[in-house]
């Protein structure tokens, strides 16, 4: 997921379940099958802000590297990032 440009829409395919941080992010809603928009990034390229249906979560770029996603065509994402 860390490879995708800002503003991309994607669906989570798999998550590295050996990372405690990622398990916590899963509990917060980043589960396989979830669709999300990578909205913004913080200063120095990290963290990323991820818009899920219902909430917006932050994840560090290095944590995002453990989340595997399938890019989706960015339809109906008229209201996304400023970049």
């Amino acid at each position: 997921m860390d490879q995708l440009p800002l503003g991309s829409r994607c669906r989570i395919v798999a998550i590295n379940e050996n990372s405690e941080n990622l398990l916590r992010l899963m509990e917060m809603g980043l589960t396989p099958g979830t669709e999300l928009v990578i909205e913004r990034e913080g200063p120095f390229q990290s963290p990323l802000s991820l818009r899920l249906p219902g909430c917006t979560l932050a994840a560090r770029r290095e944590d995002a590297a453990g989340i595997f996603v399938k890019p989706l065509p960015s339809v109906s994402s008229g209201e996304n990032s400023d970049s």
Binding site: E17, R24, E27, G29, R40, P43, R51, G54
Partner: protein, 743 residues
């Protein structure tokens, strides 16, 4: 008389306890405040510094129930101390606390699936719950559709829609609490997650459940729920929470099926989310997926790559400036109140040691406590406001990269910044930091940030040993540049020490970033006000008593002579001045004042503090300090700026502050004992400045650290490491300077 009360069931008479649980930002505290109003109190859970908020409310029937506001959590698989508390209370594992009779799970209706996750976990364990479907108004705006009745049917527990912020739906919630019987049981026959596990978990859970029942470790009804919980949570080496027998059993089962607890947790989490998605479909709930327009617009500025950090710095500058200057008028009022009280006591009590103790010990001790209140309240006003509108999460987002380089939490920035004004509110503000070790690191380095109480000391020393007003490069002065260097030094050392602690004593992985960026909303003045009230009261009650006691003890150390002071000498001198008819009234007063000052100096020299100062002299001599500075250092434990009056007293200067020429001159005239060279050279000045940057001479900081860490070890360690640092720093400066040929 045979009243019905006598035959009533015992449980019927006991006050019921209801816990409020839910995700962070779901509105737990708002609901708690709406239910309890001011009938609440804040304490600590034993052994940890997680706050325990309890209150009471009255049901329509007149029954009074206790309410506990639990820390927010996303899952029962707890990792942070806050979540551990929530978990322990919910499952009735909290020591000294009964399991709650009923749990209200506050659920954010605009993010139903994620919020029902915890609800469903509790459900599996057979714990009686009521779902409070909060923020219905926002959910509707954002395109959610929720049918509480269908949800009630699907979950098998009461689901009450409400808007806690506006108090809508509270009556219905109270009625639901009312009708929930004491031993509230879930309706049977409704499939829970635990009844339809994915195949990967079905076998292990069933095996463990049977094992548990066979060895009599659990009831038959909740066995599966408990089995799943055991498989998820017993991380290797983390078994202390569970009964050892059950944990061993669960380990065996996991081995049998080649599953790690993390794998179980990953499977459980994604399967539960899928289950909840289906549940939402069945109940024709629609997840809101319209982005909150206002939030999106604000974020495109506040989280902007360039403007975001700039605006953040502007907000921080405002907080800092307000602590530095806006608090001053209130602090001045408190200080003049203290001196007025002192004067009143002067008239009321007869002269003597007792009066002095009341005046200088007790009254100024109370002043020492109260004087912190304006800064504490201001800081928590800002924090409460920023937290409530949703900006604090953004601040953590923006600061994460920078702070995680040091190894600190992004939320450590504000406490550390506030510590430049005063470490007391700074340390109190570390509560937002989730990791215990990360929080401790922040508390330990907070006093290294140069607080405003050190400023008078810096001013005095710089003004004494340097030609402070000499211009440099047009706009700067020597004094200004030295001051800037001091602040740079203090920041550098703070960051260095944080990095050192994080890698050694408090070694822990870099704090995870687990952050939700909530939608912006209007702050609730009621919540902020209640919080401010709590902060102030807690500080005065807990830290205040320690500060007061310490001030009185310090006064005694410095003012009660342990050796006889020959007062006749001073009496004779006074007599001589009075009898000298050649003096006019003005110079007579001056002469009398200087005699009184000399007498005070003598008393201090003969006090325990004076002896300590002399006893300390060999230790601090390598830093270039004499026993008089030693006394000043001891005195400054009351508050750093007391160093000045302490130094003034031993030097026999009356009523001096950091800008008085008399004290500066007297210091400049001071000769090194046995020589004719001046004592206060620039080198000694630098050594003294370094000492004051690094040393933890502040009883109030120690008192608040004691309260915030619930231990004496950490404050003792803080004083210890900072004293060592101060000694070494000054030693290097002074001896290094001497080696280089300065004196």
């Amino acid at each position: 008389m045979n009243t019905p009360v006598r035959i009533a069931d015992e449980t019927y008479c006991r006050q019921r306890t209801i816990a409020i649980a839910g995700n962070p930002n779901a509105g737990k505290t708002t609901l708690f405040n709406a239910l309890c109003g001011t009938r609440q109190k804040v304490g600590n859970y034993p052994g940890v510094t997680v706050e325990r908020k309890t209150g009471q409310t009255r049901l329509p029937s007149g029954e009074t129930v206790n309410i506990i506001d639990l820390p927010g959590c996303y899952s029962l698989a707890a990792r942070s101390p806050e979540e551990q508390i929530a978990h322990d209370v919910l499952l009735g594992e909290m020591e000294g606390e009964n399991a709650p009779d009923l749990i209200i799970v506050v659920v954010d209706a605009s993010n139903l699936q994620r919020n029902l996750f915890l609800t469903s976990q509790l459900h599996d364990l057979g714990i009686p719950i009521i779902v409070a479907l909060n923020m219905m108004d926002i959910a509707r705006e954002r395109g959610s559709e929720v049918d509480p009745e269908k949800l009630t049917a699907a979950l098998g527990c009461a689901v009450i829609p409400l808007v806690a912020r506006k108090g809508e739906g509270l009556d219905e919630l109270l009625a639901a609490i009312e009708s929930a019987p004491c031993a509230c049981q879930l309706k049977g026959g409704i499939p829970r997650f635990i009844d339809c596990l994915p195949s990967a978990l079905e076998q292990p859970v069933q095996t463990l459940a049977e094992g548990l029942i066979k060895s009599g470790l659990t009831h038959e009804t909740d066995a599966r729920g408990e089995a799943l919980w055991l498989l998820v949570s017993s991380l290797e080496g983390d078994d202390a929470v569970q009964a050892p027998a059950a944990a061993a059993l669960s380990r065996r089962v996991r081995k049998q099926y080649h599953l790690s607890s993390r794998q179980v947790r990953a499977i459980e989490t994604s399967a539960r989310y899928r289950y909840l998605k289906d549940l939402m479909k069945q109940t024709s709930c629609l997840q809101a997926d319209l982005p909150h327009r206002l939030t999106n617009r604000l974020d495109s500025v506040l989280l902007h790559r360039f403007f975001g950090p700039i605006l953040f710095l502007a907000v921080m500058a405002l907080v800092f400036q307000s602590l530095f200057s806006w608090a001053t008028p209130a602090m001045d009022v408190i200080e003049s109140g203290v001196s007025l009280t002192g004067q009143a006591i002067d008239r009321l009590l007869p002269d003597g040691l007792f009066k002095e103790m009341i005046q200088q010990g007790v009254v100024s001790g109370v002043g020492n406590v109260l004087v912190f209140l304006p800064q504490i309240l201001l800081l928590f006003l800002f924090i409460g406001f920023l937290e409530d509108v949703g900006y604090m999460a953004r601040a953590a987002f923006l600061m994460d990269r920078l702070m995680s380089r040091v190894g600190l939490d992004g939320r450590a920035f504000l406490p550390l910044l506030s510590s430049f004004a005063c470490a007391i509110p700074g340390i109190m503000a570390t509560r937002t930091i989730a990791g215990r070790k990360d929080r401790l690191v922040t508390i330990l380095v907070a006093p290294l940030m140069s607080c405003s109480a050190r400023l008078p000391v810096y001013t005095l020393v710089i003004g004494t040993v340097f030609a402070a007003e000499t211009p440099v490069g047009g706009i700067f002065t020597v004094g200004g540049l030295v001051l800037m260097a001091i602040y740079a030094f203090s920041i550098t050392l703070g960051i260095t020490m944080a990095a050192v602690f994080k890698r050694t004593l408090l070694k822990s992985p870099p704090p995870p970033l687990l952050l939700e960026l909530p939608t912006y909303k209007l702050p609730s003045l009621k919540s902020i006000g209640l919080n401010l009230f709590d902060r102030g009261r807690l500080f005065v009650n807990r830290a205040g008593t320690v500060i007061l006691a310490a001030t009185v003890i310090l006064w005694a150390i410095l003012h009660i002579p342990i050796h006889h002071v020959d007062r006749t000498r001073f009496e004779n001198a006074r007599q001589a001045v009075i009898e000298n008819s050649g003096l006019d009234a003005d110079s007579r007063d001056k002469a009398l004042q200087s005699i009184a000052a000399a007498e005070d100096a003598d008393v201090v020299e003969q006090s325990l503090g004076g002896h300590l100062g002399k006893w300390l002299e060999p230790v601090i001599a390598p830093l270039g300090f004499d026993w008089k500075i030693g006394v000043g250092i001891i005195a400054s434990f009351a508050a750093r700026e007391v160093f000045i009056s302490g130094l003034a007293v031993v030097h026999g200067v009356d009523g001096a502050d950091e800008r008085s020429p008399s004290l500066r001159e007297s210091l400049r005239d001071e000769k090194r004992p046995g020589t004719n060279t001046p004592m206060y050279t620039p080198l000694l000045g630098l050594s003294l400045l370094v000492f004051f940057v690094l040393a933890c001479q502040c009883l109030s900081t120690v008192a608040i650290a004691r309260r915030e860490t619930s231990s004496w070890f950490w404050p003792a360690f803080m004083v210890g490491y900072m004293s060592v640092l101060a000694w070494v720093g000054s030693f290097v400066v002074y001896q290094g300077g001497k080696l280089l040929g300065y004196s």
